[in-house]
């Protein structure tokens, strides 16, 4: 039986048509995505201190109704994160913070919370040195994009060359800082109040 004979077979033709129909939903043309690709290198996000927690009571031991407690960038209570990422790429830092501290026993009772963010991508030696030149975001901004290491001068260099073989891209370190203020404390019951702040760091793809 030759090819022509096969396609003349009506049962086979119907079967082929059915298979093509089913497959048509799954098959698509080649797509090329020019998003940032850094090779196998990931972003490493580390807390500088063990068990990072924004503790307002260390800044001010007694918090009563009507008080406002502010943790400044310079304060020891400010939380620092070290970001290690392949240099020459842009990072997007997104801080997802609630606007309230919530009473542990009753989530409907809240205290206003304002989380602030600062970053330093000028290769400071450590997080303390980095505080001095850190760039603070204006109040209300919780999202920022910056290069892993800032160029001190001159025009930007050529784009990074694709990696071959076992090449490893040089990594660079940037710091981000989280701090902020709480209050004024309304008339609320005494007790513990808390909030969960999430920090996301990703490569900026400009898609």
């Amino acid at each position: 039986m030759g090819i022509r004979a096969t396609y003349r077979n009506p049962i086979f033709s119907m079967f082929l048509a059915t298979v093509i129909c089913f497959n048509s939903q799954e098959s698509f043309a080649q797509r090329i995505n020019f998003s940032t690709w850094t090779g196998s290198d990931d972003i490493v996000l580390n807390s500088v201190m063990a068990g990072p927690e924004l503790k307002f009571n260390i800044e001010q031991p007694i918090i009563t109704s009507g008080t406002t407690v502010t943790i400044n960038l310079a304060s020891n209570q400010t939380i620092a994160f070290r970001i290690e990422a392949p240099e020459n790429f842009d990072l997007t830092v997104d801080v997802d913070a609630p606007l309230f501290l919530t009473f542990v026993d009753d989530p409907s009772i809240t205290i206003p919370l304002q989380v602030k963010l600062a970053y330093n991508n000028m290769l400071p030696g450590n997080e303390l040195a980095g505080k001095a030149g850190a760039i603070e975001l204006p109040i209300g901004f919780t999202n920022v994009t910056f290069p892993v290491n800032r160029r001190m001068s001159g025009a930007p260099g050529p784009p990074p060359t694709p990696l071959t073989g076992t090449e490893v891209r040089t990594k660079s370190t940037a710091f981000i800082y989280i701090y902020g203020s709480m209050g004024p404390v309304p008339t609320v019951p005494a007790g513990d109040y808390s909030a969960e702040i999430t920090v996301n760091v990703s490569f900026t793809s400009y898609d």
């Binding site: 082929l16 298979v19 990931d42 990072p52 924004l54 404390v185 109040y193 969960e196 996301n200 760091v201």
Partner: protein, 171 residues
Amino acid sequence: MIRKILIVLVVSICLLSEGIAQTIDHTRKATLSVRATATVTDNLQMLTIQNINLIAPEVRENMILVSPMRSPFAGLFKIIGNPNARIRITFLQRETLVESNERIGEVKAEYNLSAAFEDLQIQSTLLDLGEANINLSNKGLLFVWLGANLDLSAALPGIYRSEFTIELEYI
């Protein structure tokens, strides 16, 4: 014929699996979370439950003695604050009262305080003179009794007035 059908099936399976393979995504994101915490404290409150009574006790050898731990004439305060919080109590320790009209006679007064978690005077313990650091109970309460020793040896009949001062603060 059967072989051809098999080939078509294999090709179609390959097409399907390719579609699945292309949906694999690369994760290039790091996430950490931080807790923000605050413990809110009640403002310290002090209620006077009973004033010290210096009229009823009898005078012995020119002295009126009201023990904060034993005397029923002692003054009583109730302090309400944050559970287990540590507070500092500062109070007037000694003073000399001068007769308010003639200003001749004088009474030397010495105050002392005792404190307990419950309203049981017999269980109370004497506080350090002048300034005491003490914890509130796990319900945020503290009962404080005020006693006084009055020296009347230089006193003349008349009116003597004073206001006992006590200060509380969290430490």
